[in-house]
Subunit: 257 residues, 4 copies
């Protein structure tokens, strides 16, 4: 699918504030960049990197109001939904780089949910287990703005039964890891999301590959343009700063080309 993605971000920074943006479409097998540009006002020279996980960071020290526009045309290739028959690996058969996504992280304390997943999803494994987790989340969690914040963990969402895409993803990742399945959070541009915004989904490692799933069921996998992936929101924030920073405006659009 060919998609035109764009984000317009305006932020007010304190003096000389370290800032890291993760808003560029990832360099990723199957996802190709047809064109791409970044414009900032005032002009900023970013330090660009590609992480070991294929995602890209833009770093700079910023002061005062900075407006950043990112635009790209991306062919996201052919993304396939998780097949129920996808098989769960013994840990010895996992690629070494997947192991870290078995462990609990800041917003995904999977170590606390071992008994819950066993009781709730006992018999199932692999794709069947992940789909059962997604069904459970759909049935028990409401998509609701204003009930969570930057500090909200999967524990809170599990109790409060409501949240936004970030919270759904943290809970999904948590329950998969608690099931012995590597899972990592993915930030994305998402076609068809209403209102348009940065989206958070996750992927699981089964049958020798990573499979994207959207626990909110708000968008189609086929319309996702991958930005970054990592342990949880701590890794994939579209903006991390080392000091005071206030959002002035933020707008995301995604259109089919």
């Amino acid at each position: 699918m060919k998609l035109r993605v764009r984000s317009d971000l305006v932020y007010q920074f304190g003096p000389e504030t370290d800032a890291i943006f993760q808003i560029q479409a990832a360099h990723w097998p199957g996802q190709s960049m047809l064109d791409e540009r970044i414009v900032t006002t005032p002009p900023v020279v970013f330090k660009e990197d590609v992480s070991p996980f294929g995602y890209r960071t833009l770093r700079a020290r910023l002061t005062g109001e900075v407006a950043l526009t990112y635009e790209a045309t991306v062919d996201n290739g052919t993304l396939i939904g998780l097949p129920p028959g996808a098989s769960q690996h013994d840990w010895t058969d996992l690629p070494a780089e997947a192991l870290t996504f078995l462990w609990p992280s800041r917003y995904c304390p999977s170590d606390q949910f071992g008994r819950f997943v066993e009781r709730q999803f006992g018999a199932s494994r692999g794709g069947e287990r992940v789909l059962a987790i997604l069904d459970w989340i759909s049935e028990h969690i409401d998509y609701t703005h204003g009930v969570s914040n930057a500090g909200t963990t999967a524990v809170h969402t599990f109790i409060d039964r409501a949240g936004v895409c970030r919270d759904f993803t943290h809970l999904g990742v948590t329950l998969c890891r608690a099931s012995g399945i590597p899972a990592r959070a993915v930030s994305a541009y998402s076609f068809g999301l209403n209102p348009p915004d940065f989206h958070a989904v996750f992927e699981v490692f089964l049958s020798d590959g990573w499979w994207l799933v959207d626990p909110t069921r708000l968008a189609k996998i086929q319309g996702l343009v991958r930005i970054a992936c990592g342990r949880d929101a701590a890794d994939i924030a579209f903006l991390s700063t080392g000091g005071a920073c206030q959002m002035v405006r933020q707008k995301v659009t995604v259109a089919e080309v």
Copy 2:
């Protein structure tokens, strides 16, 4: 320093339990392995890996009682304590692989300590800041067994004012990250620790390099044989399992050669 390290571990596993050991001395610049062996009863064929962070994992599916002995002679080179004058990097000047160690993790919720570090250590930066954090920990936290467990985070230790090496390390890592300094947990064999045991310390990225520090002040940096490093205890556990597992015996020894 040339050191002979040894761990004797006996565990009782449930049927076909995924197990990952991280007990081998790391392949790490400046640390050289003079000889090394692993013996298990009954015999186990491990899958061996070296992680992107240079540490090594042994994976197998185990059943019933398994005894594992690891022995190595290691020259750990010359480890230098953190100089107070080590300078703190702007985030743009950090190597990309250090960025992940700025973010909060499962046991190190550094996002909650921003105001504390600013109030407590306000003026200082870099090596001076890290040494101030280590002083604060020494003065305010008691080394005490039995007050923490596998779920204990830096929040708990900060309030309870007591813990073991794992807890000291989590608190140190947390306060450094909250100060904008990359910090990661390191597991190690440690010469002179009494009683001998696996040790947890951490390292910070300053003046273009990682520097080891021991927040417990129980052992000398010079006597550390590095095993693994990562975000926190979730990454560097010497044994992670995918199911039931009970410790039968565990003994660690470290001697100068």
Copy 3:
């Protein structure tokens, strides 16, 4: 029902440690004491009180090992299980002394479960709601020793899906308060509990009265000898101390007379 209850408690106290025991059968409408005695070694002169809630406290400053035996023959009258038709009061119709049991407490953070109870038990009210809560607990929580401790709250039990009578009671109280129903924890001697121990149950205010329920379903309401009641375990601990104290032995027996 006429019951003979007895507790044998041996504790080791630090020097001059404030201690409060709540182990005596309560003075309570319908519950009558036929005989009763307390013996301590060494002899202790307790300060005795009856609380506004009808329960009794024994206070002393203790040093070293103290053995206390409490024995009583109690007629606990006729305790009736909660009728499904019991009606829920508007808050304006509650007796003033019931209001405090609507609010969250240390181990019962009911303020966090508003959305859960509405989603899970939506339509039901009153006795029907409480019985639905008890059914949910029975189905989702395992009675398991060793997974909780003195600091465990209903949040932990809700996630971990296991606990002992104290945890079941905290979760039941929490879900009832979140439903707008006054609920309070009750400590009791319990006939038929195996192994015999102090028991924790709770009661709800419906249809102009308090009704006892046992969320563990381990004992019959008819066999309960009431000791104390309060917000949660913080109020009804059978022993609270102002300093170091170690259990040496503890034995509870309850027999039909």
Copy 4:
């Protein structure tokens, strides 16, 4: 001191919502009501009560927008600040009704702070201890709006080092209880608070009486008109509701007569 207190509250309630107001000056030894009135639009017939702790509640079921004005002229008598020499009671010498204020509550988990208070305030007891706690709070906690909410506990405030009067009070109560001193939260009208608002302070039981202290140091004890007291904010909220409710306007004034 003779004070004229007034609160103007406008709230939007959902259909038939249980509401409890605690905004009236308390009937309390030394505090006398010279005149008092409540006006509501539309007219509401409240159920009035005086609690065992001497505070007053107004209960009704409300629908839609309700405006309530409370006005009173109160002589608050002579309130004396805590003398440093006030002595701490052994628990056996406390009045029975003070015991409940030794235990942890929803927002004051004093059970977690035993080691901290011992380490930090070790030698001191009684009035000297409480004053040391107040000094510590003054030195380490910033009075800051917007960093806490209705769910914030003393643990959060202790870590985040900032909060409002409610948070200061919860932390003060927590540290006193952890020191074996009964402490309870008190809501009040407060002369000289800028901007005027409901105030939260606390009181400790020492030398056979309760002594008011203001951990924020924003107002003088002498200018407090007592409303309610209890375990923590859960007990003394000026408005508790059993359903949806939104603040439209709220204004408090206190003037010397």
